[in-house]
Symmetry: C2
Subunit: 202 residues, 2 copies
Amino acid sequence: MRVIVIGATGTIGQALVKTLSVHHDVVKVGHKDGGFHVDIASVDSIKTLYDSVGSFDAVVCAAGLAKFGRFEELKEADYLLGLTNKLMGQVNLVRIGRQYLKDKGCFTLTSGILSQEPMKGSASISMVNAGLDGFVRAAALELAPHLRINAVSPPWVKETMEAMGMESSSGMPAEKVALAYLNAVEGTRTGQILDPRSLIKN
Amino acid sequence: MRVIVIGATGTIGQALVKTLSVHHDVVKVGHKDGGFHVDIASVDSIKTLYDSVGSFDAVVCAAGLAKFGRFEELKEADYLLGLTNKLMGQVNLVRIGRQYLKDKGCFTLTSGILSQEPMKGSASISMVNAGLDGFVRAAALELAPHLRINAVSPPWVKETMEAMGMESSSGMPAEKVALAYLNAVEGTRTGQILDPRSLIKN
């Protein structure tokens, strides 16, 4: 399959490219780096990407900004960042991409477990991730039977925790998280929110 | 308690006012009608409401616009309507209202079961409702122990189905839905998404 990986230069994205490349032709898309670029917050940028990339069988997105912060300090603009970037960015990748994706193709988006397992500071991220989960469950009903859509809802990633100076023993290595995306791309599921902890034995 | 009901003139809102008025002092707030007005999509309008309404113990919101429509016909603006009105409108009622609400007060917002039980046409509404659920679960952690927050996630309301010309025998009467809000206001829960079907025997 020819698979577009958006966010290919990120922590999960790099692991995704490595994992998917074993059996698939991977098109790496970065925000500024990589062979192709996209700003998922821009509909025009998304259209330009799809117009330029040629035909493809799958879109995997591991990109999207959202703001973590104390509830009393989160401003309206902080919520809107997540809504316009991580949430509507991925919604628009699907809305627009369905006209380009090959029949029987699939979208695999990125949510996060804060949707169901919030913590202090996650109000805007939990909102965005849960919204994405709701979108995926609903959109799957109308994309079927031609296209599939799923989200991977990663736990804290070990490499991210290390980069943030957090104690990382509870984190999942990015290469393990990537297997959930592989499962979504190669399998037959649709409308599912995949928790890598449930799919993969550490 | 003094309870502000936003969306007091709507189908659920009217039932809410009737139910809450038995034991509480209800302040009715409409979009254009009622003693007080608010446009929840406007931060300024929300501030004006809170500044003018006096002190209060609870905010109940049964207002919020979102667009139902076929996936291939939903435009970006249709998604943004739900995000800016039903979702961020209610988030802003909490963000701003926490500075006005009395200690031990509570917010009760309105989601909807399409968050978890989507149907064809619900992509944007499922996204908005699920996002609200995620926000409520997370915000509760930081509003505690001073304030509570919950969402009621109503099923299809009988009167709404009748107004839309749908077969309504599966719908729940608004007066039954209102009991879930009463439970949220009078009880001790926080961070919960209340399904009136689970709480109330028809």
